[in-house]
Point group: C5
Chain length 253, copies 5
């Protein structure tokens, strides 16, 4: 058995993708629709201010294409709080006109492949308090206009198997991978969440940027990087545009 890397975890994360049943929504009388929008604005405002929990971050995005219409993104300290947010949304009137399209359950994660490279030989629990580590584990959703999300695995093929490689080889590949990510520092902000034991893929990747083209540039460039070229398996990709509470009315009218 090869050595498993240590990881630090922070907040639990729910990507809640929803489809809107526009025909039924449009059939709702104008005043009921206005009330439902007002209630949704309040729901979104409260979740963005995480009035349901001491810590956390939330945001809403309008998603392109048929896979979903809306993405409610929530970060909270416990799964219970995410579960409660699901229930709270289900109680809104708007929810009656949506269906669950996809979701992802994960937790912010810092693999110590990388942290050890950046923070030196510190013990994991000391590293947890370093500012850059805290920022990774308890991230405020950045005020960038575009988001893209995809889940992924590391391949366990019959010939190419990430999980049987020696630690050193994995560390070297992760370092090269991290270097490529840093090229986009300030342009694309990455949130890596782990979902082993929680959801169907091993990680979720959520990227934020003011320029959606940079998502393509970054992910394409990474695809030629050894760790992605040989070992990455990708799930669905979903692209969204941020919706502020005061934009909900325009979106849903």
């Amino acid at each position: 058995m090869v050595e498993a890397p240590e990881t630090l975890e922070g907040w639990y994360c729910l990507h809640d993708f929803r489809r809107v049943d526009w025909a039924r929504w449009k059939a709702l009388p104008e005043n009921e629709r206005a009330a439902a929008i007002q209630e949704a604005v309040e729901f979104l405002t409260h979740t963005e201010q995480h009035t349901d929990a001491a810590e956390g971050s939330s945001a809403l995005y309008s998603v392109l294409g048929h896979k979903a219409d809306l993405l409610f993104l929530h970060l909270r300290p416990t799964p219970d709080e995410l579960n409660a947010l699901e229930g709270a949304f289900a109680r809104t009137r708007l929810a009656d006109f949506t269906t669950a399209a996809y979701s992802y359950v994960s937790v912010t994660e810092l693999g110590l492949y990388e942290a050890q490279a950046r923070g030196g030989a510190t013990a994991p629990e000391e590293m947890r308090n370093l500012p850059f580590v805290q920022a990774r584990l308890k991230p405020q959703i950045p005020a960038r206009r575009y988001v893209t999300f995809y889940p992924m695995n590391k391949r366990r093929g019959e010939h190419e198997n990430w999980y049987t490689l020696p630690m050193d080889e994995r560390r070297a590949m992760m370092r090269s991978h991290g270097t490529l990510g840093h090229k986009y520092f300030g342009i694309v902000q990455q949130m890596i969440t782990g979902s082993v034991g929680f959801d169907d893929w091993e990680w979720g990747v959520t990227l934020f940027s003011e320029d959606p083209l940079q998502f393509k540039k970054l992910v394409y460039e990474m695809r030629f990087d050894e760790v992605s070229a040989k070992f990455a398996e990708f799930g669905p990709f979903l692209l969204g545009v941020r919706v502020q509470p005061d934009e909900l009315d325009r979106l849903l009218r």
Copy 2:
């Protein structure tokens, strides 16, 4: 043909995942909803006390994400009793506002790879009466707050094929796997159920803990263990939070 391991089996197990149709449920008049909740509380209480069968165990969980809302977990001596519980739930009013999202049919199993390692060279039928074996075959669902479930296969690839390995190699890998599981003793409780001949994967794994992060730690660490790294194929993962009968009202209002 290589030697197949002996196995001991105990109770049949049904994981019954359900989605709630919130819009229709919320449209139900308040008094009908209260009556339906009361009936569901009684259904859950009776199944937890297995008043339908001499032995068994049941519990309800609230599931995160779009894959399901509820998990009814039932253990009973026969498939007939599980089938009857499906029918009994279908007769409740609450059931009319749910749809089947996923399910898993299996039976508690102890592979004698492991039992032989722990219990010595005892014959299978004598082992059955050992206390630790009874606890594995007729498990009471533990009072832990979190659950995660996933089905899995052992790989039968063209190059890496579990089912053509000599018994000794398989036993050695299973022993190492068990050792890793014991690291989490008292932190994560495991229930292994076999489903060859009953459902689409070969095993179901149900983990219970007070700390959901330990699910991730355990499954991730195991992924580097040879038997998982090379031979495990995983189905969907579903994460839930325990719901006691007296919490149903809060969940469904």
Copy 3:
């Protein structure tokens, strides 16, 4: 091109899996429901007595889990008779409260790998009249309480390919496979149906037993047998409990 084995075929077989829409069914007035059950009892009784055809066999099972609620199993001399039974069921009132969940179209088959081993060097058309062959090709559904069904293929991988193996190797593996099946003689009754050209997998396997645990024991033991370990690809597994006509009322109330 390697030699293809000769096969004998008998009756066409339809596995018709159905889901019940319990909410709508329960909303039906009591007297209409009673009439629908009575009509279903008559449909089942007539199909079991194959009053629609000179020969055949039929049975109903209650299926565990979300994949289906009911399995109508029909054997008849021609596809036309199976098609007519589909139409006859569609005309019942009960059918209006069910949806098709899955199905399988096949024909009872005896691969002469095995028959040649058991019956000697007889020509195929002479073998057809041997009693054990007739029993395989025109099987009465046994009065066992439990059933399990799964479809399967023989692998055509890039390295392990059943269909390019010499006849002798295939025959030797099939003989070993048959020997293992005979270990369960009297405990598990097997019905092998071929579906090449008719449905999505190459064979259907339907097992009958008074002890469902023996399904697991048999299929698991076979998985270590070379022909299954290396060459079998399995579809979904569905487990059911026999429902006699006079038990339909209890099941559907």
Copy 4:
């Protein structure tokens, strides 16, 4: 780059598989149902007589199992005519009680692997006028009682890749394949349609016979033929029974 074979194409082909919503259909008042059947009989009669186009052929089949209830099979000179037939059916009353279950868009094709073997060294455009070529490219749907349909690909595996084999090897395998098909001459009639660029698989295969068992015999025997054993990937198989216009009433009552 290896040489691609030349192909000749004829009529476009639509396999339009439909499910019937029996519950809603049966709820229709008797006189409306009779009118809808009459209209469907006229639709079918007109399409069989291809009154919508100068050339073509059409037929209806009743399909076994849950995958579909009906198959409308249409051959016409252009995709526009097929598209118009979809629209014409959508305008019938019967269509309101059906949903699209599956479909396949293709064009009759003669690979010159085979034609060159049968017709000698003629240039493709001269071959087009040979009677056997015309019969393949503009086929009248034969008056056989049974049909089976399946789409397929030639494998492009990492080790076994049809598309990188030299022309000579491919031609030799296709010739052997054709020889096997000729064994069934007069018993099973084959219609090969190409769908590269049109639908999800590379070819559709539609077989017609008076004896459905011969579908199984033919496809199973071919599976041992090298080109199928090593290079064929198969999609779903659907089996149907011919429905003449004057049988529609019996089918739908």
Copy 5:
């Protein structure tokens, strides 16, 4: 890590595939249907004239088979404009009678494998202004009658992996691929859009022609070209026929 090719991008592209609920649509009173068609004609006319954006191009196609009925194809400078078009369509009355069947989110792309071959050693940002580059990045949807769309990946297999090949090998294969495409110059017009980071496959390919048979000829011939034969993985294929605004009435009556 091997070198990634540079790419130039232009307009964002949405393929919006829709199914029509014909039964509900036909049940709409004649005058409401006429008004809905008129509104849809205006929607289509405005999108074709890109009155919502300074630049862009749009078109509507009628799609063959069960996968979709309509394809709205939109090209615009930003994802926000595509998202707004989705919203604008959702607000039409016709949209209430459609459901999202499939979609694809991408951006027009010129891989500099090819551009460097055609434009010489110019720097990427200088190349952007070359007329043939502008025509590729900001394409007007051609007035051809037929369209076919399919998404694709470059394989990352365990043995054949595009993303680990040296740049020179990839360039040589892309050049050969381009040469084959040029054989169809004037007959089939290609639009290549990149979707890495945006949607589930790496590229979308949209082909336009007056002769749909040429789609088949081109894609089949390319399949024998090394880059496709060894490295292409294809998603669904969808074939459509152009619908001008003044043809909508005929299509939807």
